[in-house]
């Protein structure tokens, strides 16, 4: 069958119209699917292990969500935003994902022509975000309390000592989450180690082992590894206190359980955000968000000591201590 000349011209017209729509049809219309990766740049500090693995896992997650993979831009210690802008433009980057403390510092100075998402940071305050959407590595308190409820259903009260300059935003979220979980959150603020120690010294004897649990947030002031942790762990062991943490290392030292970041999942979230932005979607809202992509670690020895039946919880424990 021979195509009529009019039909040929119609086919060309349709292609051209569709092409014109494609060019004018938003951000994604500029890039073919294979070119998305070249528009997403990941700025990350060059760190040694074990931090390198964390960053690699996050970047790997981003790559899973960004076709062609994101452009990796390692940050030198002296790298500044001004230095990077031209490089990012030359690379035709449109979305920038920054990781780590240095990444956040650079992100704050980047031109707003880029879509910027920051992550891989701890102890970040809303003030630090400066209008950026920051996905913190701090586990979501709601998920923490949910796991607490599963592992220790008898607990009614959760005590926490924190430095408000680091974790005020998180405690706010925690209060809501506690309420949601039917728990009472008793918060003690301490602005230095001496005050924190005094606080722990005061509260630990008061705790009811049956109904109360102590939450150790990621707080460099109040959760001192050299002084507070030995005190807390010793007291908890001796008095069968339930202690959970936002730091997986604490489980190794004797805390019952902890939630810790699922870095690859975090990367995937970041990749989704980036691709969504390129496709015309929004970026994370300005401010700090707790991390919902978490894994569960448990200390079986502590569990046995406390009489907690892990098997009965039917939870999936991603990391178990002591390691077999």
């Amino acid at each position: 069958m021979k195509w009529p000349r009019a039909a040929t011209w119609l086919w060309l017209y349709v292609v051209c119209v569709l092409g014109a729509f494609g060019l004018a049809g938003g951000h994604l219309a500029h890039a073919a699917p294979d070119d998305v990766g070249r528009s997403v740049a990941v700025l990350y500090p060059e760190l040694a292990e074990p931090y390198r693995s964390v960053l690699q896992a996050i970047i790997g997650g981003i790559d899973e969500r960004v076709p062609g993979g994101a452009v990796r831009v390692p940050l030198a210690p002296q790298s500044t935003a001004a230095d990077l802008v031209s490089d990012l433009r030359r690379r035709d980057a449109r979305v920038v994902v920054t990781l780590g403390r240095q990444g956040l510092r650079v992100a704050r100075g980047l031109d707003r022509q880029f879509g910027v998402v920051a992550s891989g940071v701890l102890a970040v305050t809303p003030a630090d975000a400066e209008g950026l959407g920051v996905l913190s590595l701090a586990p979501d308190p709601g998920m923490l309390f949910a796991r607490l409820r599963v592992l220790m259903p008898q607990v009614r009260r959760v005590r926490v000592v924190h430095d408000p300059s680091q974790n005020a935003w998180l405690i706010r979220l925690a209060r809501e989450a506690a309420r949601t979980q039917g728990l009472e959150l008793v918060v003690v603020e301490a602005t230095d180690l001496r005050a924190a120690l005094r606080a722990y010294t005061d509260l630990l004897p008061q705790m009811n082992p049956q109904q109360e649990a102590l939450w150790l947030p990621q707080d460099s002031v109040t959760v001192d590894e050299d002084t507070v942790m030995p005190l807390v762990l010793r007291e908890a062991w001796e008095r069968n206190l339930h202690v959970f943490s936002s730091n997986v290392a604490h489980v190794r030292r004797g805390v019952l359980f902890a939630l810790y970041p699922d870095n690859r999942a975090l990367g995937r979230v970041l990749g989704d955000w980036a691709r969504g932005y390129l496709q015309g979607g929004p970026l994370p809202p300005p401010g700090v968000q707790p991390l919902g992509e978490l894994l569960l670690a448990v200390n079986t020895r502590t569990a046995r000591h406390l009489g907690v039946s892990l098997a009965a919880t039917q939870l999936k424990f991603n990391t178990v201590f002591p390691e077999p």
């Binding site: 964390v54 403390r101 701890l122 680091q166 180690l193 460099s220 001192d224 002084t227």
Partner: protein, 689 residues
């Protein structure tokens, strides 16, 4: 090099002299010992110093670590102001060795807790470190030290964990400090131990090393000593010595070289020995041959001497009688002129014969070297005068002019053998007269050569001139040969022909020689020069009276003489000679009989013949001298053997004088006069008529 020369070359420094005087092994041992001891001490000191530095650093690091550790554990206590939180750690800290005291202080320096019994460590600096100073450091440091202890300070800080994911790192907080007093006891002990261990090890190594050195030194020096001993033995003449080849290679080479050298020397020595033995044998053979020849010559000489002596004796004995009786007969005044002439002929012939015998004997003795001059002071002019008188008679007989002169410079008295000098001159003058038929004969005596009287010597020249036939030049030497005369046989004059030969020998014996200046037909000159010691005036010799023949007796009491001779004719001749002079005479036929006579009679002198049976004269003289009574008795030995041996033998036996036979009357009387102090009485001249 001799030991003394070696010592003379010793250097002036004591140590250098020590090097010369000690053995190689001792020098090696001492040098190595000094080196090893120095090495031991220095290495021990160095090792101890180095070790102690490391230990000091380690101990200081340990102290700082202990302080830091305690500081780490003190955080809770300081934060909570609760000493209980650190008391266990503090107790654990004090269990460390050398930790004497530990303090934990707050920021303001007040003590939170302190433990330990050490001294309050206010070392050097302020009692309490300034907090500002401490707050600048995080590590432990040394606050100060004394000889006994260190004081460490370790600040206590909080250590909030910080990760690259945290936006803001939590600040560190200064909580206080730990002061740790750490003793240096371990350091001190360890230093001493290291030093002692090193020193001990070095000493052990040194001893082993020294032992090895001594062993090697001995191994090296023993072959040298062996070699030296071998050389010493070789130096002493042990030709068969060999060095034992042992020890290091160079010593072995030396020993082998020495052995080869000794072997070569031994071969040469053996060869020389063989040559020497051969030479000795040769010399021995030659010596034996010479000895045999000498013995034969001596035997021949002795035989000749004996023959001559015997002949002399045999001839003299009859001549003694002939001449004696001729002299006796001539004293007989009753004889006729013809008888007297006959007696004179007998006497002169006998004398000629005697002269011949004497000349032969004389020549023989001179040629045999048995004649010795017997110098005595001589008044030269007197002696010559007697000679001149004799010759003048002979010259007058031939009607020749005879003159003699003696220069004034000639010393009056000289030391000379007068008899021999007169013999020579008499011979020369006699010859001059004998061979001069007309003309003149003269004797000239003067100083010859370089006169040197001041030195006590003078050279006297004797010249005998004649105007005789002269001597042809080719005859000049021949005339000195025995039994030779110059000229034709018909011209030969009477004589023995021995005179010139004897004269030349005698002059040579006196230190001169006879020279002849002559031309045939123009006369001759015989002259000689002899060197004579000059004597002071007054030392004149006895001069024989010229009138012995006129003696008829002696003054004073009568003397008794003993005549001992085995030949009765000889005894009788002497009796006849002496009795007319007034002597009482006893006779004996041998020595034993003579001794018997002497035992029975008092005698004034003995005339003792030497050659006798039963007991010879020598033995008899010896026994006479042995007797106290006759010890001083004058004994005149008589012998027909005029040889010197007979004279010497008699004198040694004790003879006072010696007279040769035939007895000369004048000589006998002179000797008797001297021995018996006799004043002779002579007949007036012309008594013979």
């Amino acid at each position: 090099m001799s030991r003394s020369s070696t010592h003379s070359m010793l250097p002036p420094f004591r140590w250098a002299r020590w090097l010369y005087r000690t053995t190689f092994q001792r020098q090696l041992s001492v040098t190595v010992a000094i080196g090893v001891v120095l090495m031991a001490v220095l290495s021990s000191t160095a090792a101890s110093w180095q070790g102690s530095r490391q230990i000091r650093d380690n101990l200081m690091q340990q102290g700082e670590r202990i302080a830091s550790s305690l500081a780490m554990q003190s955080q809770l206590a300081l934060l909570s102001s609760s000493p209980d939180n650190v008391s266990e750690a503090l107790a654990a800290t004090l269990t460390y060795p050398d930790v004497m005291r530990a303090e934990i202080r707050r920021v303001d320096g007040t003590v939170l807790i302190e433990r330990g019994a050490g001294p309050q460590p206010h070392t050097g600096r302020a009692a309490l470190p300034a907090s500002g100073e401490i707050q600048r450091v995080h590590e432990a440091y040394l606050e100060g030290e004394t000889d006994e202890l260190w004081c460490f300070i370790a600040p206590v800080w909080t250590h909030p964990r910080s990760s690259p994911f945290e936006v803001e790192s939590a600040p560190e907080e200064y909580l206080g400090y730990v002061r740790l007093i750490h003793s240096k006891g371990t350091l001190t002990r360890t230093k001493a131990n290291i030093f002692m261990v090193n020193l001990s090890m070095a000493a052990i190594i040194a001893i082993l090393f020294l032992g090895a050195v001594r062993y090697l030194g001995a191994r090296m020096t023993r072959p040298i000593q062996v070699l030296s001993g071998a050389m010493t033995r070789a130096e002493r003449g042990d030709a068969g010595v060999r060095a034992v080849v042992d020890g290091p290679q160079d010593i072995v080479d030396m020993a082998q070289a020495f052995n080869r050298m000794i072997a070569v020397l031994q071969d040469r020595g053996d060869e020389l020995e063989r040559h020497r033995e051969h030479l000795e044998d040769l010399v021995h053979d030659r010596t034996e041959q010479l000895q045999r020849a000498k013995d034969r010559a001596e035997e021949a000489s002795q035989a000749k001497s004996a023959f001559l002596a015997r002949m002399s004796h045999e001839l003299r004995t009859p001549l003694n009688a002939i001449l004696g009786y001729a002299q006796i007969l001539k004293m007989d005044r009753s004889l006729s002129a013809r008888q007297v002439a006959g007696l004179n002929t007998i006497h002169s012939s006998g004398e000629h014969l005697l002269m011949l015998i004497v000349d032969i004997l004389d020549l023989s003795r001179i040629e045999a070297g048995k004649v010795e001059l017997q110098p005595s002071p001589v008044v030269l002019r007197n002696s010559l005068q007697g000679l001149v008188d004799i010759i003048r008679v002979k010259a007058d007989e031939k009607q020749l002019d005879f003159s003699w002169t003696c220069d004034d410079g000639v010393p009056v008295t000289v030391l000379a053998d007068d008899k021999r000098l007169r013999q020579v001159l008499l011979n020369l003058l006699s010859n001059a007269v004998k061979f001069t038929d007309r003309g003149a004969v003269s004797l000239v005596v003067r100083l010859g050569g370089a006169a040197a009287i001041d030195t006590g010597l003078c050279t006297v020249r004797f010249e005998v001139h004649d105007s005789g036939a002269g001597i042809a030049a080719h005859d000049v030497e021949r005339i000195f040969e025995p039994f030779e005369q110059a000229g034709d046989s018909h011209q030969k004059a009477a004589g023995t022909g021995l005179g010139l030969a004897i004269s030349r020998q005698l002059v040579r014996l006196m230190g001169g020689d006879i020279h002849v200046e002559s031309q045939p037909g123009r006369g001759s000159l015989f002259w000689f020069e002899i060197e004579l010691p000059v004597m002071a005036d007054g030392q004149s010799a006895h001069t024989l009276p010229s009138v012995w023949s006129q003696i008829t007796g002696y003054a004073g009491y009568r003397r008794t003489l003993l005549i001992v001779d085995d030949v009765p004719a000889n005894r009788l001749m002497l009796v006849d000679l002496l009795r007319p002079l007034g002597f009482d005479l006893l006779e004996a036929g041998d020595g034993l009989a003579a001794l018997e006579r002497l035992r029975l009679h008092e005698v004034d002198a003995v005339l003792m013949d030497l050659t006798m049976p039963v007991m010879d004269g020598v033995e008899a003289i010896r026994r006479i001298r042995a007797e106290a009574r006759t010890t001083l008795l004058p004994v005149i030995a008589l012998s027909a053997n005029a040889a010197r041996d007979a004279h010497d033998e008699a004198v040694q036996a004790g003879a006072t004088e010696f007279l040769a036979k035939p007895i000369d009357r004048a000589q006998l009387l002179q000797v008797l006069g001297q021995l018996l102090d006799i004043d002779w009485v002579a007949a007036p001249p012309g008594m013979h008529g």
